[in-house]
Every structure is written in C-alpha cells, then in structure tokens.
C-alpha cells in the first residue's frame, strides 16, 4: 500500500479545507492540468441541471404508463437513457418498486454510490457515517428519523450499493391522486422517496 504510513502527501497542503481546495486548484491550473471554466461548468451542471426532478419524471411515467413501467422494471438503464438520463454514476440502473409487502431503501455503506443522472449529487445525510453505519442494521429506526413508520406486514429491503449498479426506488403512488397532472404528480415525488427514506407525497 503506497500510503500505509504517516507521510501522506495530502498533509503537505494547508489543512483548512477551503484554503486546501483553493491551493490545489491554483497548483493544477498553473500546471495546465485543470481549466477553471470546466470546474464552473461541472458545478453548474449538478447545481442546476442534473438533479432529482429527472428521477421524479421517471417515477411519474411509471405510475401513469403501464407499458413504460414494465419496460423500466425489466431494463431501467435502456429506458431512462431513452429519456436522456444516462452518464456518470448511472451507467447501470435498476428500478426497485415499493409495494404493500416490500419497502426498498438504498445506501452505500462503503462510500457514497448514488444514481447521479436521476438524482444528482447525494445529500449530506446520505454520505454521513450515521446513515452508512445504521441503514443496513436498523433501517426502521433510520426511517423513523425521517418520519416514516411502516406497517408490520411490510418488509424492508435495504440495497447496499457495493458495485457500479445504481438503484432507483419507485415509491408507491399516494391514494387520491387520480386525475392529477404530470407536474402535480412530480411534486409528490421527493428526492428522499426515490432513495426510500420517505414516502411519496409526504414531507418529513
């Protein structure tokens, strides 16, 4: 192991995180290895263009179009790519559907794997030690922290994203939502409902 010793090269940089990042960016820019305009473009992409509204569009189509839903469950990668949602951290997609019998919930205990093209950059809590440590062992207590209590007859299936396969939870469509428009339905599909820590149509 190159760095199983005390002198990790990162320790040569300033320790304050803000200063550390700015120093590294300056070094890399002056070496001609990084273009600051490209960094701006990456940030703008994930701050404003690629986020959980993409996933919500997929969920609403699954709720409203049985043929789409069937195709999505069989080959999510191809189906969501057909909607323009493909790329980094979404190369191998699987959709998992919540039912009265099974509630799905996604974690990455080893790092922070997450379906970027559909949900964007993961929230802080998804990347936290507490979520990574607890979600696999006590998912129901974690869900309670999000205000979710499942019926005793519903099993929890936690997906630990240990490979390059990314999981999108298809939450259950809330009762009483017949006749809502696509936009109204999309508003029910929160980011957390597609990770499995919330139910669609409910906040907190």
């Amino acid at each position: 192991m190159p760095h199983d010793h005390s002198d990790h090269p990162h320790s040569l940089l300033p320790s304050d995180p803000d200063l550390r990042v700015r120093t590294l960016e300056t070094i890399l820019t002056r070496k001609g290895l990084v273009d600051p305009a490209a960094l701006d473009e990456i940030i703008d992409t994930y701050a404003h263009r690629i986020g959980p509204r993409n996933g919500a569009r997929v969920v609403v189509r699954a709720w409203t179009d049985p043929a789409f839903r069937k195709a999505l469950m069989e080959d999510a990668t191809t189906v969501v790519a057909g909607m323009g949602y493909y790329g980094r951290q979404g190369e191998h997609m699987v959709a998992v559907e919540n039912t009265d019998e099974v509630h799905n919930m996604v974690v990455c205990t080893l790092c922070s794997c997450y379906p970027w093209p559909l949900l964007g950059i993961p929230p802080g809590w998804y990347k936290s030690d507490a979520y990574r440590a607890r979600a696999v062992r006590e998912p129901r207590k974690v869900l309670a922290g999000f205000g979710v209590t499942l019926p005793a007859g519903t099993a929890v299936r936690v997906w630990d994203s240990t490979a390059e396969v990314r999981y999108l939870v298809i939450p259950q469509r809330p009762d009483g939502t017949d006749g809502l428009s696509e936009d109204e339905l999309m508003a029910l599909v929160t980011r957390d409902s597609m990770i499995g820590t919330a139910l669609a149509g409910r906040t907190g």
Binding site: H8, L24, G32, A38, L39, L110, G120, S128, D129, D160
Partner: protein, 224 residues
Amino acid sequence: MSRAHDMGGRFGDGAVTPEPETPVFHTDWHARALALTLACGALGKWNIDVSRHARESLSPTDYARFSYYEKWMAGLADLLADTGLVSREELSGQAPVQSGTNDRMLTADRVASVLATGGPADRPSDIAQQFAPGDAVITRRLNGNRLVNGGHTRLPGYAAGARGRILRFHGTHILPDSSAHHLGDAAEPLYAVAFPAAELWTHPEHPGDEVVLDLWQSYLEPAA
C-alpha cells in the same frame, strides 16, 4: 483486516439528519472539491476503483475526522502525488511547473459530453456464470483482497461469511479488487445477493427484513 470506511452495521453513530433538496452544495469549496475531483479524473491516470482506494487508505484518524469532501481532497492530493502529476514540492508550496501531460486537460466545452458518456463497468469475461437466481450462496469468511494485502475490496465486513440467495444476475463487471491496483479489469459475473437481516445482525429489527448487496462471483461459494 478492516479499514475505516467499512462501517456498515457499526454502533455508536448518532441521528441521521434529513435536509431539503436544495442547496446541492452547502459551501463553495464543496462544489470546487467535487469539480476538481471530476476534472482530475478526466486526465485518465486512474479509474474509479483507484480513487476509492485512495480515500480508503487515509489513516483511520483522518478518515474519521475529515468531512466528506475533505476525504475527497486528501485522496485526490495523494493520487496526484502518486501518479507524478503534481510533485510533493509543488504540494508544499514551490512554484508549479507546467505539466507535460496537459493535452488531456478537461475543457469547459467537453464537460457535458464527458459527464454524459460516463464509464460503464461491464466487460466481456471468460468466467462462466456459476449461479442463478434462487441459488443459495455463502460469502467468503475473510473479506480481504486476495490479490493485494490490505487492498481494495467491495465485500463489507458485516456481510462476510453470511448465507444468502442470488436475487439477480447483473452480467460480468470489472473486479474492483484487481482494477483498484492497476492489475487489469478481471471482469467476472456480478450478482445481487439477498441476506435475511437475522443472518447479519444479532438483533434484527423485523423477521422479514433483508439486505441486498452486489457481489462478484469470487466473493461467493455455493451453499449446501
């Protein structure tokens, strides 16, 4: 034989704190750290498994005290030094020297296509699929990397030596245990494997609960 990142099932962590969908980045330097990591990855000197292993190789003390993007920055700095893209002197504050490998620099006009192209992990493999959905399997009791002592692996400690069943076959994928150490793709069959909570935890919350992990064929043995 564990590392600090392998924390699934650990006791002692506190509450998980929900947060709204926006802002995506809580401070400027978080956004900058993410973008720097992606831009440096595009230089082509390492793959995603190498970069994960760099973060996992932080000392347990640093891994625990660093916030998320601090881990990314530390892992990135170590990789830049390892690959020679940046010298230790430059990290220490000496004037940077123009790089000879800047022809691969990610430019703003290429960002959209690079992000949209991604990096698929499926590869052809000569290794035959050994298991089918429904088959009973047991994970290796020792979850260490078998190619490199202390190396990268994706079998978490909490799921080592556990009995589960094959849920689905994902095709043949790059083996991180090999790829993280520049030893080649070594693609092999990858499966989603379901484990009853009672197989993993002394006090499972509910008899019907399961945990599913994506596991490579060489992590698994047939169960009688």
